[in-house]
Amino acid sequence: MASEGGATGYIVHHLTPLSVGEGFWKLHLDTLFFSVFLGGLFILFFKSVAERATSGVPGLAQNIAEMLVEFVDTQVKDSFHGRSALIAPLALTIFCWVFLWNAMDMLPVDLLPMIGSLMGMEYMRVVPSTDLNGTFALSISVFFLIFFYSIKVKGLAGFAHEMTCTPFGPKMMPFNLLLKTVEELAKPISLGLRLFGNLYAGELVFILIALLPPIVQPLLGFPWAVFHILVITLQAFIFMVLTIVYLSLACEDH
């Protein structure tokens, strides 16, 4: 499927998003479409289960949903010691949504772009988590929540005190502020970059495998896909757990 420009052209083509607009107001339509679509799948599934949720014998769908809910609930209860109506649903949404994003990676790299090109779309990048905008949207939202909860639990003064007077006491105030700012900023950046990096690299390897001769492709593609079952789940899990941990830290009063 190597088009004009050889291997490099093929790779670049695959990693270019379908976009409209220019400069900052450029919108990646594929990222937006697939993430909304997958979010819709997630919502539809869970909403239909929630509507029919019974305390009697659960069906298959309810079993799956309950497994996920209990799994997330356990993680939240293990790490987050406050009471909040937001954390657990937030964690569930993050886990399922990121997992669905990542799962797009398992589709053959050429399948959806080919269908897209038949429909007249020149570019298509199907995995929303290979778009920095996607992963940073999540991590920055989480950052805002950390900020919000820190102030809500500790109060504005308490938060200011923590930013300026820890870890080295009031005498080192500027240094403390710098250190804490870096620490707080590192959270969303590392969160977003970790997910992006893993999935981007994974997708890149799939594209490289797709460039190999057809005989060799399954030999490499199959193990990599199997390995990726682990990676996509793990990355979704890590994103969720770190979100819970960060928020639990934000809610902790010293």
């Binding site: 976009s19 919108l27 937006l32 993430s35 659960p58 809910v69 929303p128 940073f136 920055i140």
Partner: protein, 157 residues
């Protein structure tokens, strides 16, 4: 690879998703889970209670059975005792009756004997009188010698 307005769109989507999950998805599922938990706990408790009740009933049945056995044994032994008593009584009565009959028979025999003796004496005395009459014929006055005759008759007795 640039950061652009897609970020804002994604953040809005994310916020909506979290809001929806928080409002419509999480509470019913957690409620169902909690309810099932209670139901299971209740069921387990009921099962335990039932088992306890069975144990108690078994115990009670055993004690009732034991009591009934004891009672029946008591009844049988009482009946046996009564039967023995009846037999003893009957034996006693029979013995007494036998003795009484024997006594009566003896008394009758005695009486018969006395009667016979009396009548024999009378017979003998009258016989002797007649014989003496025959021998003495006119010599003896019946009225004169009445004393002697009766004395003799007495001696014959």
């Amino acid at each position: 690879m640039s950061i652009n307005a897609t970020l804002i769109g994604q953040m809005i989507t994310f916020t909506l998703l979290v809001w929806f999950t928080m409002k419509y998805v999480w509470p019913p599922i957690i409620a169902a889970l909690e309810e099932r938990k209670t139901k299971i706990a209740e069921g387990l408790a009921a099962a335990e209670k039932g088992q306890e009740e069975i144990r108690l009933a078994e115990k009670k049945a055993k004690s009732v059975l034991k009591e009934a056995k004891e009672q029946s044994a008591e009844i049988v032994s009482a009946a046996q005792k009564r039967a023995n008593q009846l037999v003893e009584e009957a034996k006693e009565q029979a013995k007494k009756e036998g003795e009484r009959l024997l006594e009566a028979a003896k008394a009758q025999i005695e009486q018969e004997m006395l009667h016979a003796k009396e009548s024999l004496r009378k017979e003998v005395s009258s016989l002797a009188l007649r014989a003496a009459e025959q021998i003495l014929k006119e010599e003896i006055d019946k009225a004169k010698h009445q004393d002697i005759i009766s004395k003799a008759a007495e001696q014959l007795g």
